[in-house]
């Protein structure tokens, strides 16, 4: 790290300095033992989510997005290990220091998760109504009848037709879209402050995807929760989020307001991601792809983790790991180009190359 660099702290939107953020991840590190070493799936991740806002966490598969989601609720076990020195704070409270029982009181109650594949994420042998009611009874001392009524009310709220009848059905008797509505109902039945949606629409048909996204946005307005949307789909991020964090190699490589990121990506990886999105308004012969693959989490490259795939990389990138640098107010990128912008124009290669 050089003296001239200004390692930025995670974003605190202007005017909010005094407030405690809803979720604050600092130097989050999660490791998994694998054959031939230790996979550093999440490796020094900083992220902020303010109450009520929608943040997108974007990256290719294998970049550590889902592990981050699970680590927030300490669900990476038994194999995963959250390293000492990591910090996960919910409204200032250190979740990593909580005893098991208090941690369980957070899960599903203050922070809820929606998973990618609702068919395997729902218990196949329990009625969906019971699975939702169970979440209520885990956190509130209510009668079975009340919990059941809350489940049906929530199923109605997520737009499941004939909620009362459906509540008595099993997951395999529902369509994929309905199952994801059930997952969302289950996550929101205790009115969490933060909903983490891990690829919530990836397993669904395109038409259903739009419905589910609309539903999430509507419920967010109604219930006032914050949403951390984890996805590889930049289109989804553009439509639904206020801020975006781009993840690569177990770290955040760029973080900005959504509009700013789409207008002026500061990190070459983000540029590559944006160039890989098919666009209707620009004629292009073929889609660009980012050359190479995400390196294995057991051996991140030295220096900048993206340098082997980066069209601009120079000597410094191979040896020195860049910190998150402030490219513009509220816009940070983990890239030496922020300090040496001249290098960007000097490179002849555009971000990404033709396959």
């Amino acid at each position: 790290m050089t003296g001239s660099a200004t390692p930025a702290t995670p974003a605190t939107p202007p005017g909010r300095e005094a407030r405690v953020p809803l979720l604050e991840l600092r130097d989050l590190r999660v490791t998994f033992p694998v054959a031939g070493g230790v996979a550093r799936a999440v490796d020094g991740l900083d992220l902020l989510v303010e109450a009520g806002e929608t943040v997108g966490l974007v990256g290719e598969s294998g970049c550590g997005k889902s592990v981050t989601a699970l680590a927030i609720l300490r669900l990476v076990g038994p194999d995963g290990h959250i390293a000492h020195g990591s910090s996960v704070r919910l409204e200032g409270r250190d979740l990593l220091a909580l005893p098991g029982k208090e941690m369980r009181a957070v899960r599903g109650n203050h922070v809820a998760l929606v998973f990618q594949e609702p068919l395997s994420a729902l218990n196949p042998v329990l009625r969906i109504g019971a699975q939702i009611a169970e979440a209520v009874r885990a956190h509130e001392s209510v009668t079975r009848a009340t919990a059941r009524w809350r489940a049906i009310e929530m199923l109605t709220m997520v737009g499941l037709p004939e909620a009362e009848r459906r509540a008595r059905q099993y997951p395999h008797q529902l369509s994929g879209g309905m199952r994801q509505r059930v997952m969302i109902a289950m996550a929101l039945v205790c009115r969490p402050k933060l909903l983490i949606a891990d690829e919530p629409t990836t397993a669904l048909d395109v038409t259903i995807q739009a419905e589910i996204l609309e539903l999430l946005a509507e419920l967010q307005r109604k219930l006032g929760m914050a949403v951390l949307l984890i996805t590889h789909n930049l289109g989804l991020v553009a439509e639904t989020t206020q801020r975006v964090a781009v993840m690569y190699g177990g770290q955040i490589v760029e973080e900005a307001a959504t509009e700013a990121l789409f207008a002026r990506a500061a990190h070459p990886y983000t540029e590559g991601l944006l160039a890989a999105v098919p666009r209707l308004d620009e004629p292009r012969e073929r889609l660009r792809v980012i050359p190479g693959q995400v390196p294995p989490a057991t051996s991140w490259p030295a220096g900048c983790r993206f340098h082997p795939r980066c069209p601009y990389a120079w000597e410094r990138c191979r040896t020195e790991a860049p910190p998150l640098l402030e490219a513009a107010p509220g816009h940070r990128a983990r890239c030496w180009l922020v300090e040496e912008p001249a290098r960007r124009t000097r490179a002849d290669a555009p971000p990404g190359e033709k396959p």
């Binding site: 369980r104 109650n109 395997s120 218990n123 196949p124 979440a135 885990a138």
Partner: protein
């Protein structure tokens, strides 16, 4: 559901018919003959034996004998025991309830014990507890039941003298003990043979339950259950346990034949007056009618066992219901 039951019962009837045919053929083709047992030979001359053979139709061709047997069976006649000179229905009718009592207690105990051990192992997987229980259940599973029975008998019956060594009731029990006293007496006699059968079977069920639970604990819906904030016990029992139940119930149903064959040996060891002992004695006496009828009843029990297991599985797993 009714169609499913009808199909299954028809299939069971065919299976039982096949069992009867095969057993009939086997006992008749096996070396040795009835009426030539030691007791018979000492008392009877060859003319008497020939008369007896004619009386039971044993001098006719085997096909004819089988036709007669089936015709009798269709009328509900199981024939007469060559050795006991009593109707087979009576001989087996006395023994069957005792075997059912022993088998049902052993099956229930082995299921509960196996599921409990397997659950503890899954919850503590990778620890020394898991290792010790794993060795224990493997040892139980691989021990021959008659040997285990003898060891239990020696230890608890002979050395410690806590439990009776043989029979089903205490012949010296006073008359006035009443129904409760008699039940307790049977229970005391039941304990060792039931424990023998249950331990062997529980070993198999525990190993299976552990595997099914560990698989279930890795499933995504278990992660969902944890993400809901459920306690580890609720996750293990309600979510992983429920979904691991179906395969274990299937195994319990499939262990009915093993329990029945096991009971042949265990009943002999403990002098338990059940089907197993009657069958065992009948086989050595070449008491054809008893052996064939016993095999038929065993076939019926196995068919019923697997049908009940399938119904229980359908109860436990909605995806496996015939109308789903």
């Amino acid at each position: 559901m009714l169609g499913f039951l009808a199909r299954r019962l028809a299939l069971a009837a065919l299976t039982v018919l096949a069992v009867v045919t095969i057993t009939f053929a086997l006992v008749h083709l096996a070396p040795g003959e009835p009426m030539l047992g030691n007791a018979e030979r000492m008392r009877a001359d060859s003319a008497t034996i020939a008369r007896q053979r004619a009386r039971f139709g044993l001098d006719r061709p085997i096909a004819t004998q089988f036709a007669f047997y089936l015709a009798n069976l269709a009328r509900g006649e199981l024939g007469e025991s060559f050795v006991r000179h009593r109707p087979v229905a009576l001989v087996l009718g006395e023994a069957l309830p005792n075997t059912l009592l022993l088998g049902a207690v052993a099956l229930a105990a082995s299921f509960l014990l196996g599921v409990a051990i397997g659950s503890v192992q899954a919850a503590r997987r990778g620890t020394w507890v898991d290792g010790v229980l794993s060795i224990g259940s493997l040892a139980c599973y691989s021990t021959p039941s008659f040997w285990l029975g003898l060891v239990l008998l020696l230890v608890f019956g002979q050395q410690l003298g806590w439990l009776p060594v043989a029979g089903m009731t205490d012949p010296a029990a006073p008359e006035h003990v009443g129904p409760l006293g008699r039940a307790l007496d049977v229970l005391r006699h039941l304990l060792l043979p039931a424990a023998t059968l249950a331990l062997v079977n529980a070993g198999a069920i525990a190993r299976f339950e552990r595997g099914a639970l560990v698989d279930a604990l890795g499933a995504e819906f278990v992660r969902t259950a944890r993400a809901k904030g459920l306690s580890p016990a609720a996750v293990l029992v309600k979510h992983a346990g429920r979904s691991a139940l179906a395969p274990v119930l299937t195994l319990a149903g499939l262990s009915v034949p093993a329990l029945l064959t096991g009971s042949v040996l265990v009943e002999s060891v403990f002098g338990w007056p059940g089907m197993g002992r009657v069958t065992y004695e009948a086989i050595f006496a070449r008491d054809y009618n008893v052996v064939t009828a016993a095999a038929m009843i065993a076939g019926i029990l196995v068919a019923l066992g697997s049908l009940l297991a399938d119904l229980a599985v359908a109860r436990a797993d909605p995806r496996q219901r015939p109308d789903a």
